[in-house]
């Protein structure tokens, strides 16, 4: 049964997770199992991309139950593409973390726990892209969330537990809301299968359908971190180990975006909410990017850009035109790659310099030109500098906005450009401070900040500024931590003491560069890729390919 391919991206990592738990005392075997599993998933995903493109959506009814009864998995153009990108990205992150495990032996990274959790995360992400059933989508979310709870609190340090608390509590609530939404959908329609729902929702009174739509949108917006449901993200992501943050940043919010894209197009065509989505996109972009500008830690800054750029994707969805949806899909692909890559690179920075705080870093470009290059290129890509994929995605969305031509769309185009500029400003600031400024200057500035901080009276302490990096009320914690962690040495002091890791993290660097390379490859293949996303967008808006593939009318 060739349909079974559709189930493999989920079942293979799960099998591997089981195996990995059994092999708990054989780390090298564990590593091999994980890598083989993810390579297999990537290969299957590639096949699915080709098949979905050539033969239409690939649907599988699990267990062969009569049609609307069981659970269906569907790999259409969108799902397959998401699957392929996420598989490649998870593979790179896995390789990176394997490298990190071998480098940071001192930290005794609990790999025995890491591997199974990571594989379940991969399975959950894959399942989310394939699920053709609302409850099954919920299950996918639970898989990836539970895995993420474990990964986020790995090592159980205080800051991770604290950040983990916010993350877990918010997500448990959002899962509950999702369950409520599912209950509502089922009680109104008596079905959970997307294809069946597509028909049944039309029959509902308009207000009830709208209620369901809004409820689902709210749920997925929490996952996707759409304003104002985004505040939890920057407070929880940055504390995790680099590869974990990387994979979260790259994939988890995109699963939310995917869910929005899928449900909005398939279940609620001719949505009355496009304006609302555009407004949400606008606020997400702007509030997010201003948050990034205010940060003094690279990881936090990147977490805020993550939120902000979710706005781009929602913009595309909100346009509800083929060009808009296509642009959104392209942007998702771009953003998964680039955001994960950047976080991995920041992990390299942390490894090399012992910190990601802009107060403690300096001179990295000269210290390690490779590191400089591998930060600068993706950072510029994130900021949408041509000819890289960020630019192409931005152009795709902006021209879709102009083509749509409503006033709000023009406002969004302008906001998108402003976001792009501020992203550039934020990453250039980080570059300037961490990579250009000499470590000594960094050291002197941070001493001055500490002095100012200690001298400043209460409320004013929050407004201490260094150059253009500023600290506000948000940064209380940050400022306090500079203050508290005085014994921690910054890069300058480490250099003075010749206390930097001499071990070259080859595997980590290779994995990070691999992702950066992948993001550059997106530029080269942008032509065919955009054609593909165009076709995917048309499929989504037409709905029939999906519906016909799932509900064939004959019961197996």
């Amino acid at each position: 049964m060739s349909d079974a391919l559709v189930a493999l991206p989920v079942i293979v990592p799960l099998l591997a997770a089981g195996l990995s738990l059994v092999l708990v005392r054989r780390p090298s075997l564990q590593r091999m199992v994980s890598i083989i599993a993810l390579v297999a998933v990537a290969a299957v995903a590639a096949v699915l991309v080709v098949r979905a493109d050539q033969d239409g959506p690939q649907a599988l009814w699990i267990g062969g139950w009569p049609e609307p009864l069981g659970i269906a998995l569907v790999a259409d153009r969108l799902s397959s593409l998401m699957l392929l990108v996420s598989a490649l990205v998870t593979l790179a992150v896995l390789v990176y973390s394997v490298g990190q495990g071998m480098v940071d032996e001192a930290e005794s990274a609990p790999l025995s726990i890491y591997h199974p959790s990571f594989l379940v995360l991969a399975a959950g992400v894959a399942n989310a892209f394939l699920a053709a059933d609302l409850f099954n989508l919920f299950v996918s979310f639970e898989m990836l969330l539970f895995a993420s709870y474990v990964l986020l609190t790995l090592g159980g340090t205080e800051s991770r537990i604290r950040a983990g608390t916010i993350y877990v509590v918010v997500n448990v609530l959002s899962s509950m809301v999702f369950l409520v939404a599912i209950a509502m959908v089922y009680s109104a329609t008596g079905s959970l299968n997307f294809a069946q729902l597509a028909g049944r929702l039309d029959a509902l009174p308009e207000a009830v359908a709208l209620l369901l739509q809004l409820m689902l949108l709210t749920v997925f917006s929490i996952k996707a971190a759409v304003f104002p449901l985004s505040f939890w993200l920057p407070d929880s992501y940055p504390t995790a180990p680099a590869p974990v943050t990387a994979v979260f940043a790259g994939l988890l919010t995109k699963v939310g975006v995917y869910a929005i894209l899928r449900t909005q197009t398939l279940l609620f065509p001719d949505s009355p909410l496009t304006t609302a989505l555009l407004v949400a996109a606008l606020l997400t972009m702007l509030v997010g990017i201003l948050g990034a500008v205010a940060q003094s830690d690279i990881k936090r800054m990147l977490s805020f850009t993550l939120v902000s750029h979710i706005g781009y994707m929602i913009f595309g969805v909100g346009l509800a035109t083929a060009a808009g949806v296509s642009g959104a899909i392209f942007y998702v692909v771009h953003h998964i790659t680039i955001q994960t890559g950047l976080f991995l690179v920041v992990g390299l920075v942390e490894h090399r310099a012992g910190s990601t705080s802009l107060l403690r870093l300096g001179g990295l470009a000269r210290l390690s030109p490779i590191l400089g290059l591998s930060f600068f290129v993706p950072a510029m890509n994130l900021a949408g500098i041509p000819p890289m994929s960020g630019f192409l995605g931005k152009v795709g969305l902006a021209s879709a906005g102009i083509e749509q031509g409503s006033t709000l769309a023009y406002v969004l185009v302008a906001a998108g450009m402003a976001t792009s500029l501020l992203t550039l400003y934020a990453v250039a600031k980080a570059w300037s401070l961490a990579f250009w400024r000499t470590p000594q200057q960094a050291h002197e500035t941070s001493l001055a900040v500490q002095q100012d901080y200690q001298d400043a009276p209460g409320e004013e302490r929050q407004r201490v500024r260094v150059g253009s990096a500023s600290y506000g009320r948000v940064e209380q914690q940050e400022a306090r931590s500079i203050h508290d962690d005085t014994p921690d040495r910054d890069l300058y002091q480490r250099l003075q003491d010749d206390d930097l890791p001499h071990h070259r993290p080859r595997t980590m660097t290779a994995a990070a560069l691999g992702l950066v390379g992948l993001s550059l490859l997106l530029t080269v293949v942008a032509g065919p890729l955009f054609d593909y996303t165009d076709r995917a967008a048309v499929d989504l808006l037409e709905r029939t390919p999906y519906l016909e593939a799932v509900l064939t009318g004959d019961t197996p």
Partner: protein
């Protein structure tokens, strides 16, 4: 054209390692790339002059209308010659300019050559979107080049400023390009020129495109970044910030003027801003003491001048603009390179400290004078002929409008401005030459080391060209005419020549030169006036003010939204749920909702209990109380399931609640008795209100959605299909392990990671300790060792590991008697689950409870005795079994997780009705048992150990504490 572009980028990629290995000599090698390109370009000259466009197309992203389309007309050809020629010679100059041990030289070489490539691409692009690609690349490489010496704060700030300002304009321009492309249906320059946008879109697009041009070309009010960019090494200044990149804006204006000159706003903007820039730049140049900054302001002034001419959009002006652009590139490149020589050989650029340099470097001074004369517009140099043609063109506009419709007052104001600007140009040219080379009274003569040939040849070539091209007005006229032909013929046919006869233009030139000479002669007076005329309005200050304001606003806003408080984040989510879907609720409630109060009286009673328990939970301050109340709510829910007629669900819920309670209690051992000892905060009322609102909203949602159903639920078919297809009578179990087994598999994975996660938090590094059997454990010191007879049987093997006061013989006996019975029961539940209440999940929980009892009765070693396996292995096996049972049917031609009914006749037992989904259920069972074991090991045994360790530590610490 593509090969020469590619060659640049290739050279940029290999430059850093080459420079790293072989040092600065490599610059000479790198110069070959642009110079060879120059040769190729020069060879295309005749064709270009004949009006053949050289074109090349490679598709890239057809969906976006983006293609690598290159084309070369006369305008592009001239610019390409400049870009490659100046680029190549400046690279030669670099080989002299930099010290061998200059830090950062490797990356500099790469950035510089890449910039040259980007600039070449910019002028050759035949597609506006592609032009934008190169446009931004020049911005980025310029940023990197300005920050060449990043240790200097000034360099970093200047780089950032240039980046932000030019990108700001660039992005505006991008939107403009997209608008134009949308209107014309293509981004191809020829298409845009053929069908320019009209109406409001045209005006918007024009303004946006100009925003790009004026920021890039440092036109007022964005002129301030250019002098800042002088933080870059002088070759960079000579190339990027004089000859190449800053021309990009002018090029764009010149390129699009045929289509946009008549759009409202285009001429007004270019003329007004251009003139203002020319004056501001010239005026400020007169104030500078750093000769490089002086030239930088001079460049600003000239760029304003160029903007005026390029934006005018008449045939004569287009002609003159290209001539002026060429002249400017040649003399400004010369002058900057001369500044580099002076700086390096005399060690300063301060004109107050320089003295007598002209005498020591006479040849350099001659070159500077030639270039300076061209800048001031003296015959017989190209600067003069170009400026004459400009004045002629502008005078036409002022006199008659020359088809532009520019009102006379504006036309004359521009002419006046240009003449004044030329006077300032003459004055600062003199100031520059005097400042750099003159011997000044009272200033110690500078010590000068002679420069090498590589330093002098490039400026000499440029200066020579400035001179030579002054005499070749004829051929140049042919070339420029070809470019200007895209405009309708104007009042006069433009011509480059040294002698037009005595006309207004010549008189105006003489006037401006005279005024300039006067201003230089009276420089002391000018300085006084300048000192007095300070303006609070400064573009640069505004920029800093804006950036600071942005930073501050960002901090304020983020401070307001990002509170770091879980309570606030949850409140926001709940409020969104109340407000957003709630809005639709209001509409949905318009229709009457019919609802059934209850099916039997038991339901409301239990519901009340559950609600009260929930409210009390939220109010509880003692953790234990909260846990018990949650349990009450949970058991109540189980009861509700039962009343609804779902015994199987009720059983499972009951078991889950029990396990949860026990686990909570185990954990509570390590937690303070109260949630908080802080006084209650008033905000709890707000939170309670939000919670209540959310509850009401959700309840109403359920009511409304339930009432709206008309369709038949899919689960109606479960009853018959479960028996017929699934082969089981217990619908719940068939649903779990077959109909929706895929969900169950996912949830299994959830259980697996949950167990793993709990274990990881307790044991941090590895899951659990090695399992230790009782026989390996020595008696604790506190226990009196009894000699045991090997054959003697004990009730629980690990009982002896407990302190005597914690042992309960009765408990041990009962446990011993019950344990196996419970296990048998659980296995029964597992196997009978398909037809009767039970199933793998419930069975696993029952086994878990059996283990729990063993643990409670005999302690942690007893647990290991009861289940001497690693929980992780159990869980992993369970997940593996479930996954494999999903894949196995594929081998028999089925689909994933498909089950088969097998009826076997087994001797003794009889007919056995086996459904293969049982294997899946066994997986479930194993995972649940493993989960329970993990929970007991970590939250039970693990915490036991922690408590013991702490007791030991506190005992060890006690004597010293007592002594103090």
């Amino acid at each position: 054209m593509l090969p020469i572009l590619a060659a640049h980028f290739l050279a940029a990629a290999v430059a850093p390692p080459l420079v790293g290995w072989f040092g600065r000599k490599v610059f000479l090698l790198l110069a070959v790339v642009p110079l060879a390109s120059l040769t190729w370009l020069a060879a295309q000259g005749p064709a270009v002059v004949d009006g053949d466009r050289v074109e090349q197309d490679v598709p890239w992203v057809p969906s976006l209308g983006l293609e690598v389309a290159l084309a070369m007309g006369p305008l592009q050809w001239v610019l390409a010659l400049l870009v490659t020629g100046v680029g190549g010679l400046v690279l030669v100059y670099c080989a002299w300019y930099f010290h061998a041990d200059e830090p950062g030289l490797t990356s500099f070489s790469g950035h510089f050559v890449a910039f040259a490539g980007a600039m070449l691409g910019l002028v050759l692009s035949a597609d506006l979107l592609l032009l934008y690609v190169f446009w931004e690349l020049t911005t980025v490489f310029s940023y990197l080049l300005i920050g060449h010496d990043p240790a200097r704060r000034g360099s970093r700030a200047a780089g950032m400023q240039a980046l932000v300002v030019t990108t700001l304009g660039g992005l505006a321009m991008l939107v403009g390009i997209l608008l134009v492309g949308d209107a014309a249906g293509s981004f191809r320059v020829e298409d845009v020129l053929a069908s320019p946008p009209t109406g409001g879109v045209a005006v918007t697009a024009a303004v946006l495109l100009l925003a790009g041009a004026v920021t890039k070309s440092a036109v007022v009010p964005f002129h301030f970044w250019l002098p800042g960019a002088m933080a870059a090494p002088t070759p960079v200044s000579a190339y990027l910030h004089a000859a190449a990149m800053v021309k990009a804006g002018i090029y764009l204006v010149a390129l699009l003027s045929p289509a946009f000159a008549d759009v409202a706003g285009w001429r007004e903007t270019t003329l007004v801003l251009g003139t203002a820039t020319m004056l501001v730049g010239g005026w400020r140049a007169l104030r500078q003491v750093d000769i490089k900054l002086l030239l930088a302001y001079g460049t600003v002034s000239q760029l304003g001048f160029l903007t005026v001419v390029a934006g005018t959009g008449t045939r004569a002006a287009a002609f003159a603009a290209l001539a002026l652009l060429l002249a400017h590139a040649l003399f400004k490149a010369t002058l900057f390179l001369v500044v580099g020589i002076v700086d390096h050989t005399a060690g300063t650029r301060d004109l107050r400290a320089l003295s007598g340099v002209g005498r020591k470097l006479p040849w350099v001074a001659v070159l500077a004078c030639v270039a300076g004369a061209s800048m001031a517009g003296l015959p017989p140099l190209l600067g003069f002929t170009a400026k004459e043609s400009v004045l002629a063109a502008l005078l036409d506009v002022a006199h008659t409008g020359d088809g532009t419709g520019v009102p006379a007052y504006l036309g004359w104001a521009v002419v006046a401005g240009v003449v004044a600007g030329s006077a300032l140009t003459a004055a600062y040219t003199l100031r520059f030459l005097w400042g750099a080379f003159a011997t000044k009274d009272g200033v110690e003569p500078s010590t000068v080391t002679p420069p090498g040939a590589a330093a002098v040849v490039p400026p000499a070539v440029f200066a020579a060209l400035s001179l030579l091209l002054g005499f070749t007005g004829g051929p140049l006229t042919t070339l420029l005419d070809r470019h200007a032909a895209s405009f309708p013929a104007g009042e006069h046919a433009p011509k480059l020549t040294l002698w037009h006869g005595v006309n207004t233009a010549l008189l105006l030139t003489l006037l401006s030169l005279a005024v300039g000479l006067l201003a230089f002669a009276a420089r002391a007076l000018v300085e006084q006036v300048q000192a007095r005329l300070t303006t609070p309005l400064s573009a640069e200050r505004s920029y800093h003010w804006a950036v600071r304001g942005l930073d501050r606003a960002a901090v304020e806003l983020t401070g307001r939204t990002q509170r770091g408080s879980v309570a606030i984040y949850l409140s926001v989510i709940l409020l969104v749920i109340v407000v957003v879907p709630g809005a639709a609720l209001v509409a949905a409630l318009q229709d009457p909702v019919r609802w059934v109060r209850w099916d039997n009286v038991g339901q409301p009673l239990v519901a009340v209990v559950v609600v009260v328990a929930a409210v009390l939970t939220a109010r509880a301050r003692r953790r234990l109380k909260a846990v018990v109340l949650v349990g009450v709510a949970g058991y109540g829910t189980a009861l509700l399931f039962l009343l609804q007629g779902a015994p199987d669900l009720a059983l499972t819920q009951l078991l889950v609640e029990t396990v949860t309670l026990v686990v909570f209690v185990l954990v509570l051992r390590r937690l303070p008795a109260y949630f908080t000892d802080r006084p209650l905060h008033w905000s709890r009322h707000v939170r309670a209100a939000i919670g209540l609102l959310a509850a009401v909203a959700v309840a109403s949602f359920m009511l409304v959605t339930g009432a709206a159903r008309t369709a038949v639920p899919v689960s109606d078919d479960f009853a018959t299909e479960a028996v017929e297809y699934g082969g089981g009578k217990n619908i719940v179990n068939v649903t779990l392990v077959d109909i929706r087994a895929w969900d169950t598999m996912g949830e299994l994975a959830v259980l697996v990671v949950a167990a793993t996660g709990v274990a990881s938090l307790i044991f941090i590094e590895t899951r659990g300790m090695a399992i230790r059997r009782v026989r390996e454990i020595p008696y604790p010191v506190s226990v009196r060792k009894q000699t045991t007879n090997k054959s003697r049987r004990v009730w629980l093997p690990a009982g002896r590991t407990l302190a005597p006061e914690r042992r309960s013989i009765i408990f041990e006996v009962v446990t011993r008697l019950l344990f196996h019975a419970i296990i048998v029961l659980s296995v029964f539940l597992l196997f009978s689950g398909h037809n009767n209440p039970g199933g793998g999940f419930a069975a696993g929980l029952v086994t878990g409870l059996a283990l729990l009892v063993r643990y409670l009765a005999g302690g942690r070693y007893e647990l290991d005795e009861a289940a001497p396996v690693d929980a992780g292995v159990l869980i992993g096996t369970g997940l593996g079994v479930a996954a494999l049972s999903g894949l196995a049917p594929l081998a028999f031609g089925g689909t994933v997780l498909q089950s088969a009914v097998v009826d076997l006749a087994v001797p003794l037992i009889g007919e056995l009705h086996l459904v293969t989904s049982l294997f899946f259920d066994v997986g479930v069972y194993l995972v649940v048992v493993g989960l329970m074991l993990d929970l007991l090991r970590s939250l039970g045994s693990g915490i036991d150990r922690q408590i013991l360790r702490e007791e030991r530590e506190s005992r060890a610490a006690a004597p010293t504490g007592g002594g103090a």
